[in-house]
Amino acid sequence: MVLPGDLGPECLRTEWRLEIHSQESKVLEFWDTFEWGLWFGGHVLYRCGGVYNLCRHENGTIGAVVCEEQAVGIRRSWRDFKIEPLRAALEEMLGLRALAMVVEGTFRLSRCDVRDGAGKIVCRLEWASVFAGKEGEEELQRSCRVLPLRGYEAEADRMVEQLIRHGATTSGDGPLELLLRHADREPRKYTLRPAFGLETETAAREAVGRIVGAILKIAVSNVPGILSDLDTEFLHDYRICLRKIRSVLSLVKDVYPVAKSRRIRKILGDLARQTNRLRDLDVYLLSRDEYLDLLPPRLRPALEGMFDDFSAEREVEVRRTISKMGASLHRKILRETALFFSEQTSHKHSPAADLPVGPLVFRCIYKRYRKIRKIAAGIGTDSPDEMVHQIRIECKKLRYLLEFFTEIIPKEEGGAMQKSLRRLQGRLGDFNDASVQQKSLLNYWEQKRCGAETSMGLGGLVSILYHRQQETRGLIEQALEEFCGASTAAAFKRTFKQPITVSAT
């Protein structure tokens, strides 16, 4: 119950005997990920007095404790925790994301036993005040929890009625919600696929501008996480955002002046390229356990050295990336790009700028699909890897188009197409990963002139990856048959092919 500022337990003295216990004050630090994985997973993690407590989250209040762990120092990943049920619960909600403190608050709590005429405790009350910050700077709320004892629920109901008569309310935000709002840290769902509010008739330039603006905003929101090297997903998402922006600009042509559009694509491409090596190293290090598990235990120690080398190189790359991305030039580029695509900025006329985006984009989608079918027709068991790579790139472009313009594509058809495309992309991705990883392992072997033990380990790994790649090829052919087959082709034609209009002269 939320209480008016001056209401204390004394208001109940007319009917009950009160036994007020001493007050305790605790500073609670709340932790979550950038994506609010715990919050949206129905949980809250707080640290108090060196103990991490994972609790259920019930309407902005801290619910029952699920698990706790005494911890010296900061815990970032689920892997840093030792107690198995806590690790398992966190792994599911955090994945690759790291924990960071989101807000801290001071909770002053006093408990009170309420006794009846015979002196029996019939109810317990918890009087809580929540203050922002660890010094208790500003009181945000006073609340009271009425904890009935079993068999004495009627007495508790009477107490609630009495508190309501004194101005208490049963609704209102929970203390955690208030703390977050006070710190301007309200949880929001994070997605790389936001809605852009597009309609078929929206002018193409306006549509592309909205898409770029929204995705650029997501890219910018990831920069602080990269600069503090909190987890690998900030860089991953930042790179995806840059790729998507470049993609939409190149796929939906002639909506902005060509030279300017090309220049922006190049600048964003350069920004992404600066982080290529760091992302590669992240990928290798994230698959460390998987790689080592592929080898017999005897050969594993030899490969540990390679991962240690990658870790050391990553340290250098992180410093380099931070110095580039932390520089004012990087901030200026992102700011100017955002300004370029804002509605306030006027541009010279371009042929497609004012066309309705629906027909324009449907043409692009259909063209891209036909291109994929054409390449797929030439793919066989002996086709070079480059052809598979090319089809992977084309699929990625098509996927982006389907994603960007999902709001104007008929839902049922679009959903089925994306599902089938995702399956194909998954297999193409596995093929590409196996191919790239082989190359990079062989590169490492050549550059480092590894000893016999490491060479054996690397050789073993390369041959496993080669076999994996060959196996995936068969799966790709199956997925291509499905995606390029008659029924999917008919669906694409039905949905995206424009009727040819002949103008009467």
């Binding site: 036993d113 029996k120 405790i121 004892l149 079993r150 068999g151």
Partner: protein, 250 residues
């Protein structure tokens, strides 16, 4: 879940004091405990300041369990709940008499509380009725307070005789000396002889203490207001001996 009962044919031997303090000691040791006051005098509930139970209709085992559940009262001590006594419990015998397997119904009823409690402790009235027989068959151990006097000794022998006649397992009987006055010669003599003829006799003895009698004034278990007096320590030792029999201690 363990089911214990505090029982004696004789009144005034310290049954309720045992039930109340043992329930507290069990809860103190971390066991979720339910104290079921079956004695219509309702002294156990009185010591916890709990009023008498609301009346309920007892038609069968299910309605009996439901009625008992509705009457569970949380004590002032977290982890310790009480079902207070009610005069309607005098109908227990009639109810049980009308049921099939009438001597084993109480166990079935109490099994329904298994998910919520580690121990159920019954404070029983001083008589032998169909309810008592149900208590005997429901309990894992029957704790019998014995004042080291000739009359108490005689009632213990009557009880063991009843167990023999009714073919009840005699090893469930766990007598112990209660209200012991060490300066009393007769107490000393009986304490020296009696345990030898009863294999389940508990080693811990509860001393006579004015502190125990003050429970009625404080209206709480002795262990709650005089935690380290000799009698309180004895109740804790008795609790330990029941939970961890000497043969099982490592």
């Amino acid at each position: 879940m363990k089911i214990l009962s505090s029982y004696s044919i004789k009144g005034g031997v310290g049954k309720t004091a045992l039930a109340v303090n043992l329930a507290f000691a069990l809860c103190e040791a971390g066991h979720r405990t339910l104290l079921l006051d079956l004695d219509p005098q309702g002294a156990a509930a009185f010591y916890f300041r709990v009023g008498s139970a609301e009346k309920f209709r007892m038609r069968d085992a299910h309605s009996l369990a439901e009625g008992l559940r509705k009457n569970i009262r949380e004590s002032d001590f977290p982890g310790l709940d009480i079902i207070p006594s009610n005069l309607c419990y005098r109908h227990f015998d009639i109810l049980l008499d009308g049921m099939a397997k009438r001597r084993k119904q109480l166990r079935k009823v109490l099994e329904e509380f298994k998910p919520d409690y580690d121990v159920i402790l019954m404070d029983c009235p001083p008589n032998i009725t169909l309810l008592s027989e149900n208590v005997f068959r429901a309990s894992d151990a029957i704790l019998v307070p014995v004042i080291p006097t000739v009359l108490s000794k005689r009632t213990l022998e009557q009880l063991t005789g009843f167990f023999r006649d009714e073919d009840l397992p005699g090893d469930m009987l766990r007598p112990f000396f209660s209200m012991v006055q060490k300066r009393n010669k007769m107490h000393r003599e009986i304490m020296a002889d009696l345990p030898a003829s009863h294999p389940g006799f508990l080693k811990t003895a509860i001393p006579f203490s004015a502190d125990v009698e003050k429970m009625g004034v404080h209206r709480m278990p002795l262990l709650a207001y005089s935690s380290i007096c000799e009698a309180a320590m004895a109740y804790r030792a008795l609790c330990n001996e029941i939970l961890f029999p000497p043969g099982l201690q490592s």
